[in-house]
Structures are given as C-alpha cells and as structure tokens.
C-alpha cells in the first residue's frame, strides 16, 4: 500500500509542476480530465458504492451552478460561499429523491427512472424560470478576482480542479476505510443480508446520496465560473449525466481510482474526436462513437479497467 501512496504522491507532485510546461490548450484538457474525474467520483459514491444507479446527476451540477451564480448576481455573495449553499440545496434535493426511492424500496430500474424524472423536471423548471434566464440561460459578468472565483487564464482553474479532485479522492478513500463505507459495500453486494445483520440500509443510502449530491453541486459552481454561462441544456441535460457516468464505468465503479483512470483514458480521445469530427464529420457522429464505446465497455470490461490493473500491477504496489 505504501508504494501505491508513494506513486500517487509522485504523480500529484508532477501534476503540480506540470502547468510550467503546458500551453493553454493542454491546460484546458487537464482541467477537463480533473473536472470529469471529480464528477465521476461524486457519482461513484452513490452508484459505485451502493449500487443504486443515478442517471440524473446533471441535476446537482445545475443546482450548484445556478444557486452560486444567482446568489452572486443578486446578493453579491462570493461563489466560494455560494457553492456551499448550492451544495446544501442539492443535498436537500438529493435527500428528497433518496427518501422517495429508498423509503419505498425502489430498486434497479425504478430508481434510475426516478432520478431521470427529477433531472428532467429540474431542467424543465430551469427552462421556464425567468430568474434563471429561461432557455437562454444565465451569462456571468467577468470580474476577475479570487473572491469571485474568476480568473484570467487557465492556471488558477487548473489548480482548483486538481484540488477538487484530490479532495474527492481523500473523501472517498476515507469513506471506503470507514464503517459507513463498509456498510455501503455490504448494501451493494446484498442488501437483504446487510439488513439482516442490523445495518440500517436506509440511513446509509441516504448518507451516500446526500454526500454525492453535495459534492456534485460544488463541481457545478466551479464549472459555471469557468465557462461564464449556464443553460439548462448544457448543465442539466441527460447528455451531461451520461458524460458523468462514462468515466467511472470505464475506469471501474466502486473503486477509488476508477473514475480518475477512466478520465485520463477517455477525456483526451473524446475531446479530439469531438474537435476533429465537428470539423470534418457530420453532427452527431462523435455521440454515435460514444454510444458504441459505452456498449463495448460493458461487453469487454463489465467491471471496468481497475480489476485488470489490479491483476497486472497490484502485486507491485500492494504487498500484504
């Protein structure tokens, strides 16, 4: 285990020093890698560790972004505070969804449908609320400064997104080692058995969805202040929900490093195909490729890349 931590520490130091040699384009790519790995990690807390699939995580991204932005516009509140408020709001919504889903024992497909419906309702509400800019969305004025979480150039965003990712890794690793984490895995593997051993499955699933929603919303606020624009079709769409789940699935659900590995593997090819195909290909082609990647990922790596890495490299890093 020590070797693994050492290895990750070295990678972290390299990533800290990396912006020195990166041009703007590559910085952008790394920000995307960190950002999607972070969102994937948030989703992983709920789905990877408890087995309840959420296909509506874009809802929390949207709540975080819109709340932080609205608070900044109306009350001049710093997004650093606003993102926490947005997180709490998202937690509230997540707990409502969790209550409805878990209280009545809705599992599998039914829970998926509930998460999709809430995300769609959220998107439709954002589309129709004047105060959220309806379908045009909100445009954020550019006032650079640390307090406004707005910066010239990509460097600060690089470090913030890296910080978010490391934060999420620490949270999930701590969770995994804690009693709560063990309970969550027990719930995923066999809910009835966990319950019969006295685990309050409802409570722990609520913890998972609340934490997952909170952290996802933080990411939403970060994204809003990087792109300077929020629209329901960008931050609350099904497409974003799918983008979020792709990386942890390919990397390996229910593992700490899965979302990160997945993000490093597919973000760059995804960006390249998107950029290349939008120039030469027809609209939609890159999404068709995405669809096939999703299907073949399930066919060939039903548990993601991580089990494979564990088999090949595990002996080197983890000596028991």
């Amino acid at each position: 285990m020590k070797r693994l931590y050492l290895f990750l520490g070295v990678i972290f130091l390299v990533l800290l020093a990396l912006p020195g040699v990166l041009n703007n384009y590559w910085m952008e790519i790394f920000i995307l890698i960190f950002f999607y790995a972070y969102l994937g990690q948030c989703w992983n807390i709920l789905t990877g560790y408890t087995g309840n699939i959420s296909l509506g995580h874009a809802l929390y991204v949207g709540i975080g972004g819109y709340t932080a932005t609205r608070l900044a516009m109306v009350f001049g509140l710093s997004p650093w505070v606003g993102m926490l408020v947005g997180g709490l709001f998202a937690t509230g919504v997540g707990l409502v969804i969790g209550f409805l889903g878990f209280r009545f024992g809705l599992r599998g497909v039914y829970f998926v449908l509930i998460t999709i419906s809430f995300a769609e309702i959220g998107r439709l509400i954002a589309l129709h609320l004047e105060s959220l800019g309806s379908f045009m969305g909100l445009f954020i004025d550019f006032n650079p400064g640390f307090l406004n979480m707005q910066f010239r150039g990509n460097l600060p965003y690089y470090y913030i997104s890296l910080g978010l990712l490391v934060f999420s890794l620490i949270v999930v690793r701590t969770l995994e080692l804690s009693k709560t984490g063990r309970y969550l895995v027990a719930i995923r593997e066999d809910e009835e058995a966990a319950e019969s051993l006295g685990v309050n499955t409802f409570k722990y699933k609520m913890v998972a969805i609340g934490l997952s929603a909170f952290m996802t919303a933080l990411g939403g606020a970060f994204d809003a202040n990087r792109i300077f624009h929020l629209s329901p079709d960008r931050v609350m769409s099904m497409a974003l929900s799918i983008e979020i789940i792709l990386r942890p699935i390919i990397g390996g659900m229910g593992t700490v490093l899965g979302p990160v590995v997945g993000s490093f593997l597919i973000t760059l090819p995804a960006e390249w195909t998107r950029a290349y195909l939008s120039e030469v290909g027809r609209p939609g082609l890159h999404m068709v490729i995405y669809g096939f990647v999703l299907i073949f990922a399930v066919f060939f790596f039903p548990r993601g890349i991580m089990p494979l890495l564990n088999r090949k490299l595990g002996r080197f890093f983890i000596k028991e």
Binding site: G51, I53, L285, I295, P302
Partner: protein, 289 residues
C-alpha cells in the same frame, strides 16, 4: 375556463393517447418477456418517423401506407439489435443493462441526426389539415385515423400473442424462461422476435405521428420518458395496462396545457409516475411489483 375547450383538449389527448398506448405496448412487451427496459424506445420511434418521411418524400408513399414497410423494417432492426446487443446482457446486473440500452439510444438519436440532420421535417400529407365538427368539438381527421389504427394494431398484437404458436411461446418464455427452454422452445429466436415486435410497434406509431407533428432528430428522449411513465402506470409487462395507461397519460398531458405552458406538460406525467412509483409500484394492472 370554457368547458368546450376542456372537452376539446380531453378529446385530443384521448386520441393521442391511443398512439402513446401503442408506443408503450412495445416497451411493455419487451420488458415483460426479457425483463429489460428499452432506453432507446423513443429514439427508435423518431428513427421510424424519418424512415416514413423519407418514403413519403422519395416515393410519394402516404405514411398510412408506408406504415407497413416501416413496421417491417423496424421489426428487422429490433430482431438484429436483440441478437447482437441485448442477448448478451440478459444475465448482467441491471446497472450494466441500463448502460447498454442507453448507449443504443444515443446511437439511434445521433445516427438519425447524422443521416437526416437536425432541422424540423413536416412534410405535407394528404389529410394533414382536414377536420370535422362533432357536437361541441372539432375532430382532426389524421388524429382520429392515428387513434383507430393504433388501437387496431394493438389489438392485432394482443390477438397474435393469444392465438398463434409463436405468440404462445413468447408468453411461455415470459412466464418462465427455463421452463420454456426445457420444453425445447428456441428461446433466442423468441426473444429476437419479441424485441422485433416491440420495435415494429414503435415503428408503426412513428409513422402514425408523421402527419400530426414535425419530426426532429433529437425529440426522442421525451417519448422514451412518456412510454416509461405509461408502462409504470399500467404495470410493467401488462399489455392492456399499456393501452389504458396511454389513454390516461394522453388526456392528462393534454388537460395540463390548460394551466401550464405546453412544453411543461411532461412535469404532469413525471408527477404521475412518481406518485405511482410511491404508492402502487406494480402499476394499475401489474401482477407483482
């Protein structure tokens, strides 16, 4: 609120509900037999709409005639999808099944976008604007025809499942997969045919919708959602439930436009779905949850 307007909306919703029922029938059949939720359902319907439009623009074939061709093509597409993709995931955990079908949905939606582009298509059809008065309300002829044909097709599918040998083996496979295997049913073929019938149902529904509304490559997702809602309302796997659920949702969505902007009518169906999931997850006509 003027009662005639309400009546008019209710009638329109009811007629639309027949088509909704046909869409949901396909979903319910696929779920009832394979226990797989077809997340690509609405996207497949939009694909079928564009097939029908293409036949109309190139061959001058009216959607009511091309319906047969479109349904046949979609049967083949469905059969192929089942054998190539869905058959491999039947034993996987639900999470993985969902992902594969979502992937298929993405492929259908963006494949349609690639082939036909992203703009609206509303080709002129022969009966598009005709209507007649019936008491206090006006009846759109294409809507009425769509309703009647949808009901006829639904009944034909039900009869097919009740009376024919293939239909009986499909029901046997739905009841007990291993039992059907033991008595020598070709389970893979049955599953393929069943997915094919489900796809043919949405294919026919897509053709029926061509005269009623403009087609757009990216409009599939709401139809996937509405067919989930209907199937949950009627009961997963219940075919009569799909028809009645379709009529209920059609009327509910249409009436909701009295007090909501029409682009928010889905909020009503989602609310119905959440309420049903909470209090009667097995649906109105479902046997077990």
């Amino acid at each position: 609120m003027n009662s005639d307007v309400v009546l008019q909306l209710a009638l329109q919703g009811f007629l639309m509900g027949g088509v909704y029922g046909l869409i949901a029938l396909g979903l319910s059949l696929i779920f009832g037999v394979m226990k797989v939720i077809n997340f690509a359902h609405g996207e497949m319907m939009v694909f079928a709409m564009f097939l029908s439009i293409t036949l109309l623009l190139w061959g001058g074939l009216d959607p009511y005639l091309s319906l047969v061709i479109v349904a046949a093509v979609m049967f083949g597409v469905g059969y192929g999808i089942q054998r190539v993709f869905v058959n491999r995931i039947l034993e996987l955990p639900e999470a993985m099944q969902v992902l594969v079908l979502v992937g298929l949905g993405i492929i259908f939606e963006n494949g349609t976008l690639m082939i036909w582009g992203g703009s609206d298509f509303s080709p002129k059809t022969s009966l598009a604007l005709s209507s007649f008065r019936w008491g206090p309300v006006t009846v759109d002829v294409p809507r009425l025809i769509a309703f009647i044909l949808a009901i006829v097709i639904t009944l034909m599918v039900l009869l097919f499942l009740k009376k024919t040998n293939i239909g009986k083996s499909i029901r046997a496979a739905a009841d007990n997969r291993y039992g059907a295997l033991i008595i020598g049913a070709h389970i893979n073929r049955i599953y393929g045919i069943c997915f094919g019938i489900g796809a043919a149902c949405v294919g026919a529904a897509g053709a029926l919708l061509v005269p009623l509304m403009p087609a757009k490559a990216t409009m599939g997702a709401p139809y996937t959602m509405v067919s989930f809602v209907i199937v949950i309302l009627g009961g997963m796997g219940s075919l009569i439930g799909a028809l009645i659920g379709g009529l209920i949702i059609g009327v509910a969505e249409s009436l909701s436009t009295v007090f909501l902007p029409s682009s928010m009518k889905q909020v009503v169906s989602f609310t119905i779905m959440i309420v049903i999931l909470l209090f009667k997850p097995q649906g109105l006509f479902g046997g077990k949850g």
